[in-house]
Amino acid sequence: MSKRNLDWRIAGLICYLALTVSVISSANANTIEPDHSSIPEWLVIKDLMFGDREIKDGSKDVLALYLNTKLDDSSTVPIMVNALMDQTDEMFIKTLYLVIDRNPIPTAGVFQFNPQAGKVKLETRLRFEKFSFIRAIAETNSGELYMDQRWVQVAGGCSAPSGKNANDPQIGKMRFRMDDHIRLKEPNLVQFQIKHPNESTLAADLEPGYDARFINKVSVQYNGKSIMSGDINFSLSDNPIFKFYFAPQGGGVLSVRAEDTHDSVFTHSVDIEGGE
């Protein structure tokens, strides 16, 4: 083999490798699921929210986070968190945190549940601004933290609100959905939804002097006692919905109160029949 041929080989190989690596890395820069425990944004968030506390893997016996594998509307991504343990007086999930590492406000929601619900579930819809992990973190009554997480590859949900339903003037309109026959002393699924643009600061900031209008607090009560409450923001989609369990002990009034960043308060209630 001549020296000249060897040089050709080396030059070719180096250029080929360089190209291959650059093509692969540019094509897959965001598409390979990274290690969820070493995301820089998450390390900062984790430190701010939980300090040195240990966060255990909860995916086997505490909570499971579900999303569709194919997502294509970054402004409306349905998610579901199911507790894998029953709520008992000895051990129950007190707080559920939803964190989207790379959203403008990473703490998408902090929800409090009543142990009397019997079971914990939360369904809602979220916006994703960048490719990111979403994390569901359960805090138990004894202060232990458990997490499940998913990698999500849709982007732009906070900066590209669509024109859909934009013609609806009924801001603050609310609705409960549940089975026609509520079973007393058992977990029943109830859905609460509110008409609200839940504006993102990223989409609104180009109009000077205007503060984005989004819901920052929801509270659902049964006969005056809290059954689910949440501190939220525009990481939730427009017209936010919440689906969760509640277990009424008897008849009463199911009521909800929501507040937004423009100091509006919205309330709504329905009667639940008791007896039987």
């Binding site: 083999m1 001549s2 041929n5 050709w8 080989r9 030059a11 070719g12 190989l13 250029c15 080929y16 190209l19 093509v23 540019s26 965001n30 579900y66 999303l67 569709n68 194919k70 997502l71 294509d72 509307d73 409306t76 349905p78 998610i79 579901m80 369904e123 819809r125 982007a155 732009g156 900066s159 590209a160 609100p161 669509s162 024109g163 859909k164 339903n165 934009a166 013609n167 609806d168 309109k173 609705r175 959905r177 939804q193 008409k195 990223l202 989409a203 609104a204 180009l206 109009e207 989609s237 017209n239 689906k243």
Partner: protein
């Protein structure tokens, strides 16, 4: 060293060279090679874009865009997805006529129709027309569209693509422009494909430029309100249209057939979404179950159908 080995290495180097030159070409800011327009009716010139989705390979040149030539001046209809596409269209105008461009009509905010606009904005004599809701949509969506251009399309002069919405002359109802013995009517629609669609009619030839109000073969995309879109389609079907330009897909199929197919899809969506909501099927499940019987009827169904289900579901779940 054998000839065979030499040939392999030469091949590898040639491949490398080709890849390198292709990458350089993608960054070339000049106009697109082989950019063509054809005259579908007297004075109506169309550039037929590639089929979506946009990619580096098709340069984002995925929309059917074009221009109408009068005796006095030219109206451009949509500007493509990048400055390169806009510049190519502008050059195509100059290759057809020496008359000046006096108007650019933007049919709606989507980037494949809008982001080539700055190829035309240096000339103060060109009036830019858009729906009265277009400036707000540009303000709220620009950041996302420009990020996408940079991330997915390898465009390195993203800043030059920033659109100034204050320079747009807005249209409510109908605005007519005289291009010199040729009047075109620009009509603003309410909630349809988007909440700010314009259509353009060339009154000399009756050619109807539909923007993305109507799709041909390509799955319709919902970026507004499904029920009102369906009403708009009913009205569009009553128009006596012989020649048309739609934003995506072939231009030679009967007008009424296009609209019947599209209404069939929207009505399937509404029917099955209503049933899903009544049965307590969540949005998470509905996107995978509703309307998939139409999968083989449309191009790019897999890419856009779930989003259409989401848009339909989040509207209809508020029906009384």
């Amino acid at each position: 060293m054998s000839k065979k080995t030499n040939a392999i290495w030469s091949g590898a180097i040639l491949l490398t060279y080709l890849l390198c030159s292709r990458a350089l070409y993608a960054h070339d800011a000049g106009e697109l090679r082989g950019y063509q327009v054809r005259e579908i009716a007297q004075g109506n010139f169309v550039h037929v874009g590639s089929f979506p989705p946009q990619s580096v390979d098709n340069h984002g040149d995925i929309a059917n865009i074009g221009f109408i030539v009068g005796d006095k001046c030219v109206a451009v209809i949509d500007t493509g997805s990048t400055l390169r596409v806009g510049a190519s269209l502008k050059n195509a105008v100059h290759s057809v006529t020496s008359l000046p461009i006096c108007a650019v009509v933007i049919t709606h905010v989507h980037p494949d129709h809008l982001l080539g606009l700055n190829a035309f904005t240096q000339d103060p004599d060109i009036v830019i027309y858009g729906h009265h809701r277009l400036p707000k949509q540009i303000r709220s969506r620009s950041r996302f569209y420009l990020d996408t251009l940079e991330r997915d399309m390898n465009v390195d002069d993203v800043d030059d693509h920033v659109i100034d919405p204050s320079g747009i002359t807005t249209v409510r109802d109908v605005t007519s422009i005289d291009l010199g013995n040729r009047v075109i009517n620009i009509r603003a629609w309410d909630y349809a494909h988007t909440d700010h669609d314009l259509s353009i009619t060339d009154t000399n030839t009756g050619t109807f430029w539909a923007g993305d109000l109507v799709f041909s073969d390509h799955i319709p995309i919902l970026d507004s309100n499904v029920r009102q879109y369906d009403e708009v389609l009913k009205e569009l079907k009553t128009l006596d249209v012989e020649r048309y330009v739609v934003g995506h897909g072939p231009l030679n199929r009967p007008w009424k057939t296009l609209i019947e197919e599209q209404r069939g899809y929207l009505e399937l969506l509404m029917r099955e979404v209503r049933a899903a909501i009544a049965d307590g099927v969540s949005l998470m499940d509905a996107v995978n179950t509703v309307g998939w019987s139409a999968e083989d009827d449309w191009h790019n169904f897999e890419l856009y159908h779930r989003r259409n289900v989401t848009t339909t579901y989040t509207d209809l779940e508020w029906e009384e």
